[in-house]
């Protein structure tokens, strides 16, 4: 039986209808590797109409699972939010994420991967094969380097595999999102661990910031 006591009723009616509010908002379903950065754009620019849900960054180790993980997240949130967009680039899905996005009627961040949209997709493409022998790091990857690179590739247990993985690379390019001296030192150490030269490029958030800011 519904509780109709006056105190309870006024409390209930004072609360906003969250379901309706969410209908006015856009949900960004994003890669966990972008959580901090997208959160920064939302916070810095007061984009209160945007909500963020992140999937585990470790999905990048099995990119074939990204499209269906994104689809499942879309289905789980579709009724609640007015609009959904996808905070992934193609990310090694070979066009399958685009297929899911088309089928679900959602848009994603343009570009092949985060290195490209952080750099700016046009600039990245213009560079062509110049950086072909470079291994990219971002702020996220520098922070998670030991977990996502060293341990995932088994280099902690089998350092002798290093050259099988990185023998064709020449340098690490750290595409920095922020001016952070500690991260720069860590990135340089990461390059050392891989036996590669080091270069830091400050790129900021590139096309990601523009994409998030432009979401209505």
């Amino acid at each position: 039986m519904p509780d109709t006591t006056p105190a309870r009723r006024s409390l209930t009616s004072a609360l906003p209808d969250l379901g309706e509010l969410a209908q006015d908002r856009t949900l960004i379903i994003a890669c966990g590797a972008l959580a901090r950065e997208i959160g920064t754009v939302i916070g810095r620019n007061g984009l209160s109409h945007l909500a963020l849900r992140c999937l585990p960054a470790t999905l990048h180790n099995t990119p074939d699972k990204i499209p269906e993980a994104v689809r499942a997240a879309i289905h789980a949130s579709r009724e609640k939010y007015g609009r959904i967009i996808v905070g992934y680039a193609d990310c090694g899905t070979g066009g399958l994420l685009d297929k899911v996005c088309a089928e679900e009627g959602v848009e994603r961040i343009p570009g092949p991967h985060c290195y490209a949209f952080y750099t700016g997709n046009a600039a990245f493409e213009a560079a062509g094969d110049d950086d072909m022998t470079s291994f990219y790091l971002t702020d996220f990857l520098v922070r998670q380097f030991d977990t996502l690179v060293i341990r995932t590739l088994g280099l902690d247990r089998h350092p002798e595999l290093r050259d099988m993985y990185f023998g064709n690379y020449e340098k690490v390019i750290y595409l920095a999102q922020t001016e952070n001296a500690e991260l720069t030192v860590a990135a340089e150490q990461a390059a050392e661990k891989l036996g590669l030269a080091f270069e830091r490029r400050f790129v900021g958030l590139g096309d990601l910031a523009r994409f998030i800011n432009d979401v209505n």
């Binding site: 070979g94 094969d129 088994g154 247990r157 993985y165």
Partner: protein
């Protein structure tokens, strides 16, 4: 009571146990043990071809199954591959000498703009183990490299590999160039690499997408057999 840590002396195992032990050692990526076992079997007058197929390839086949099933991961597979490579290093010249059966020839290379070769190398090794002659063009190959190699080596199969979403479209450049030159249908074109899929393979005009080394071997054998049957029925 037997000492569980007692060291296995490979030379004291009979042939069946030694081959079984080689499968285990390949699985565990024990390169030196594989080298030792290969030499023991050679000393026991095993043919290089039997050692390759019954010990090494069969061992790697088991590794491949467990990789596909998510029991083994890339680092473990690489260690196994290293062990197999060491065994094949001993056997390769002997296989040439003893005239081991050849199933066919394959030219393989990573496409232009891409320097990733782990998958390609695994495919090359397993194809070689399956009796194919493999001409490996390495990494970052423009279309000219493929065409020159096809002209020079006249293989049945062209294999192309790419790891990047940005480089995999180059496979279409190669296939389209082959079409322009009227040579596309002279070859079986196989493509592979992490971001690829069946649909992409069809879109670029390849004959098949091969998701791993074991599938590549099976697909290559199957398509070569079909081609032979077709030639026989046309003849």
């Amino acid at each position: 009571m037997a000492d569980e840590d007692e060291e296995i002396v490979l030379s004291e195992l009979d042939d069946a146990d030694l081959v079984q032990q080689m499968h285990d050692d390949l699985y565990d990526g024990l390169k030196e043990e594989i080298e030792e076992a290969v030499n023991i079997l050679l000393a026991r007058d095993w043919t290089p071809y039997d050692i390759l197929t019954k010990a090494l390839v069969e061992g790697m086949r088991i590794v491949g199954i467990d990789f596909r099933d998510g029991i083994l991961f890339v680092p473990e597979v690489l260690l196994s591959a290293n062990a197999m490579k060491a065994g094949m290093f001993i056997l390769r010249p002997l296989l040439v000498e003893t005239g081991a059966p050849k199933v066919g020839k394959m030219v393989i290379g990573t496409v232009k703009g891409d320097i990733h070769d782990i998958g390609k190398n695994l495919v090359g090794m397993m194809m070689e183990g399956a009796g194919f002659e493999v001409i490996d063009l390495g990494i970052n190959n423009p279309v000219e490299n493929y065409l020159d190699a096809l002209e020079e080596h006249k293989p049945e199969i062209l294999g192309m590999s790419a790891l990047l979403t940005t480089t995999m479209p180059y496979m279409k450049v190669v296939v389209d160039t082959m079409k322009e030159k009227g040579i596309r249908d002279d070859y079986i074109v196989l493509v592979g690499g992490a971001p690829l899929n069946e649909e992409f393979s069809m879109a670029v005009g390849a004959d098949a997408y091969c998701r791993d080394a074991a599938v590549t071997v099976e697909t290559a054998k199957d398509l070569i057999a079909r081609r032979h049957n077709q030639l026989a029925s046309n003849g």
